[in-house]
Symmetry: C2
Subunit: 572 residues, 2 copies
């Protein structure tokens, strides 16, 4: 393709509304434009990248034995009533009425549709297992779309669903998807961390997230540099490590703390370290209220709490409820004399003489000890921190970093097959529920994650496997007859070889053309300049910045070899 | 792929709710299922066909110089306010509100989005022409979804939009798309008629529809077997052919026709032929009312009427308005003494002593002649009929048949660029409006049209270019060691050659497997049966029904050659 004809509206200035590099670069390189908040359109270069990622995903899905189907975006309310999610899904789900007032949603995900189809069409163990997938547009009305395509409202996902006759079958399907994901991200040039993720109330089941380490990621990962353990923050277990202090238990004492509520305020007001406080958080858990205690410098892990309590809804109690329960304004809750159940993080077990709220507005209690109140249950209820040992090898402290979730695999079990009565007949003629797994990859987010991981001050550095084009040929001066004709010859010869190649035939300064080539991240730049008179041209690798001078005569062969070598590192 | 693993829920029975062959066969062959009225999901075989059609479209679009982009399905109301179509589009457009009560539509088409993007990104004549396209889901809330994917509510379209500096440029872009469409449908194995279509109020512009002749088509085409002229019914011109009758003008006469309103009723009541009546139709045309006269056995062509009157809205007047205007109940309108403008079809010019309504309930007038009332304008205002001569060569009467519209190309001119102020700067620095064209192909409907054209009593006959697989290998008896191992050898060898091949390894009767192979329309069936002991296998061409016996040793080579030969006929 000639750059003079290509629809590639690059921008010199950084768009002011883009906060992270991938967002800035996708706009600057003319890959996409915003049509509305969280809604983007993809221009030729951007769409080529998305399609390349899609094709890698498709090839690896097919290779794993998954079969591609295509569900609809519009799904009737009745389908979602069957799973119970019409009521559960919040405002994130776009809902719409047709001309006859029938209700539909725009699929934010497709468990319902797949289970419905399989329930209707598959009846015998002989037709199982099946892994079905699609590459489809998803719609989610995010409360706060941001970071470009990282969190947007209309995007492309590959979602797969496996149906097996038993847990052992699910293990096999799950492993197939796990392995396919490893291959997919390798081929996309992404360095991913595979982390254990929470599976909610389902005991024994597993779930993994494929995370791209990045400071702009919305999730936090805890991992161990020694043993390779990795889990997301929701899931990562905190060891119950007893510690003793020689300290003697002191006399409990009420202190006046006027309008001093937060740990920070208390630390500065009382001059006591945060870790000598115990925070008391009041939660509404389904239809009751509970209090949760964690050390002052720790955070309650609501996922762990939810799993412990086996509830589906959990939220911090409102101010009114807190006042009713504690008899004090918010900020002064404490466990002493509290009438609701108290759960405490393991760490609290080993504390002495700590500070808690007095359940009395403007007062706290000092020197509180465990015998001053009753704890219904101690458990791991806090987020892991860099102070914690690796829960797996215990040999060193964990590292915590942020990551972008690009893939997620999940053992669903019978959650949906039960709701849809999705059964098969086994060899003995008995009807049994199918066992499901689900597996997602965000296509657009994968593209953005690649940019986050692969860019420099000049622009994007696309891995050759997903680059919109593999080579860009740049005649330095298009008005120079020889430069121009040599450039076109090489361009055409490369096309003949099946290389995806651009030629920047624009009558622009070389600097402008080089800048654009770097910005849009084409893996190889072939410069045809003055040295063409000596039969020499230059090839630059965008990633390694390596420049080689090659002879004009065997330029095509040399370039094809460079491409092959570059591709080899992404092979699986 | 092994058929034993393939998700291919074929049905023996014809689904009762499917009225046309393509719909029946797409269900029976397990290509798709309905999720809701007019909303379908595509299973593996069906989705493969759609993707093959998409890829043919993509290749030919790219070859013509068009560039692929991807717009969003959700588009904000403001975008559609700019074109004025938010108000104009009826209930066919799905409208939706987000969590902040902002309004969006689900794109029924994308002129607005493309014009908006081009307006923002292209400013100079140097960046024109551009043809941009996408392959995207469209949403249209059809009043009456039917015939499977022929008229459904969520479907895939290729839509392209060209932007040129002038009409000459548009002619070139239009021709490129026209030629690409010819190639696309040829490659899909479709026999299409290219017909002139109406362009509305835009003088001089052109529009063509690509129609697949079929009795289940929703559009009617008039064409000439002599000269090849073809136009859709809305557009096809009726010649103004004078004819004389020796008849003398008789005296006008009122006749009592109690409760006799329709032409059929009048014919039987008065014993006079339909062609001796003149129908008077009252229309509301924008903000006024007009009467239109056509011969009793003709139909008013509302498109022609709309173009003549240069109005945007045209509809039959309601009963109340008719009564007020004519002074009579509906069914008794006539031109004599009518106070609104009367337009008449050319044919009416040559009629004598005809019957019209009397503008008096239960009365008609006989022996009416042109001097009994005033006609503001005679024009071509009726639908063409098999009585009419070809308007182009005049050498014989036209043939009328139904067709399925699979493609439509249209010179839009400045309709959208004006609304969006989509201008470019020309060589002299002047700002000028871009000239647009738009070009659509219905992907799902193309698949259905292929089936309508290519099927027999056994099932679908896919052209090899769009078939889900090219070859199906059928071991007659999978329990026969030799048959099974030879079949698998051939299957694997064909895969090695890049052939898309199925093997029906199911332990089913041969009859069941043959029936399924025919039903799903695989172009070549390779039967490995008893003759394998003699080193022979059989290859059957689904389309020609030709069967050849080939030697096992060079089976792969022979099959690959048959495939090549079969493909050759779809080459462009």
């Amino acid at each position: 393709m000639k750059v003079s004809e290509l629809f590639m509206p690059t921008m010199k200035e950084t768009p002011s509304d883009a906060e992270i590099e991938s967002h800035k670069l996708m706009l600057r390189s003319g890959f996409m434009r915003q049509l509305s908040s969280g809604i983007y359109v993809y221009l030729p270069l951007g769409y080529r990248v998305l399609r390349k990622i899609e094709n890698i995903v498709r090839e690896e899905m097919d290779r794993s034995g998954a079969q591609e189907v295509h569900m609809s975006a519009l799904m009737p309310r009745e389908l979602w009533e069957e799973s119970g999610r019409w009521a559960v899904f919040g405002p994130e789900m776009f809902r719409i009425k047709d001309r006859n007032e029938r209700e539909y949603c725009l699929g934010p995900t497709h468990e319902e549709a797949f289970t419905y189809i399989v329930r209707n069409e598959i009846t015998s163990y002989r037709d199982l297992p099946k892994i079905l997938y699609q590459i489809q547009t998803k719609f989610r009305d995010e409360r706060r779309p941001r970071f470009g395509v990282m969190r947007c409202r209309e995007f492309t996902m590959k979602d797969a669903y496996s149906f097996d006759i038993d847990e052992k079958g699910l293990d096999i399907s799950y492993r197939k998807m796990y392995d396919a994901y490893v291959r997919i991200f390798k081929r996309c040039g992404l360095d991913v961390k595979i982390v254990e993720a929470d599976t909610g109330a389902m005991g024994g089941a597993s779930s993994h997230e494929f995370m791209v380490p990045s400071s702009v990621g919305e999730a936090e990962i805890a991992y161990c540099k020694a043993c390779g353990y990795a889990a997301n923050l929701e899931k990562a277990e905190c060891l119950d490590e007893p510690f003793e202090t020689a300290e003697k238990m002191e006399q409990i004492q009420e202190v006046f703390t006027p309008d001093v509520r937060t740990i920070e305020e208390l630390v500065s007001f009382l001059g006591i370290e945060a870790k000598r406080f115990v925070k008391t958080m009041i939660y509404r858990a389904d239809d009751r209220f509970v209090a949760v205690l964690v050390r002052g410098d720790r955070e309650v892990n609501e996922t762990k709490l939810k799993n412990l309590l086996k509830v589906t809804e959990l939220e911090l109690a409102g101010a009114e409820d807190v006042e009713r329960i504690t008899g004090a304004k918010v900020g002064f809750a404490g466990p002493v004399g509290l009438s609701i159940d108290v759960y405490a993080d393991n760490e609290v077990k080993y504390l002495k003489n700590f500070v808690v709220g007095a359940n009395k507005t403007n007062y706290h209690l000092k020197n509180v000890n465990l015998n001053d109140f009753e704890v219904k249950q101690f458990a791991d209820l806090r987020n892991i921190t860099p102070d914690d040992l690796c829960p797996k090898c215990r040999s060193q402290k964990v590292t915590i970093e942020r990551g972008i979730e690009v893939g997620h695999i999940f053992k669903l079990g019978t959650k949906y097959t039960e709701a849809f009565n999705c059964v098969y007949t086994d060899e003995k003629g008995e009807k049994k529920l199918m066992i499901m797994g689900c597996y997602g990859i965000g296509i657009n987010r994968t593209a953005a994650a690649i940019i986050e991981q692969m860019h420099d001050e000049d622009g994007i550095i696309w891995p050759i496997t997903v680059a919109p084009y593999e080579v860009i040929v740049v005649p330095v001066n298009v008005k120079d007859q020889q430069q121009s004709s040599v450039a076109f010859e090489i361009y055409k010869a490369l096309q003949q070889e099946g290389v995806e190649v651009l030629i920047d035939d624009r009558d622009e300064r070389a600097g402008v053309k080089f800048k654009d080539a770097d910005l849009i991240g084409i893996p190889f730049k072939v410069t045809v300049g003055k040295k063409v008179t000596e039969g020499k041209i230059e090839v630059r690798n965008r990633r390694t910045k390596e420049v080689v001078e090659i002879d004009m005569e065997n330029a095509v062969e040399a370039i094809v070899n460079l491409i092959k070598k570059e591709k080899a590192q992404y092979e699986v």
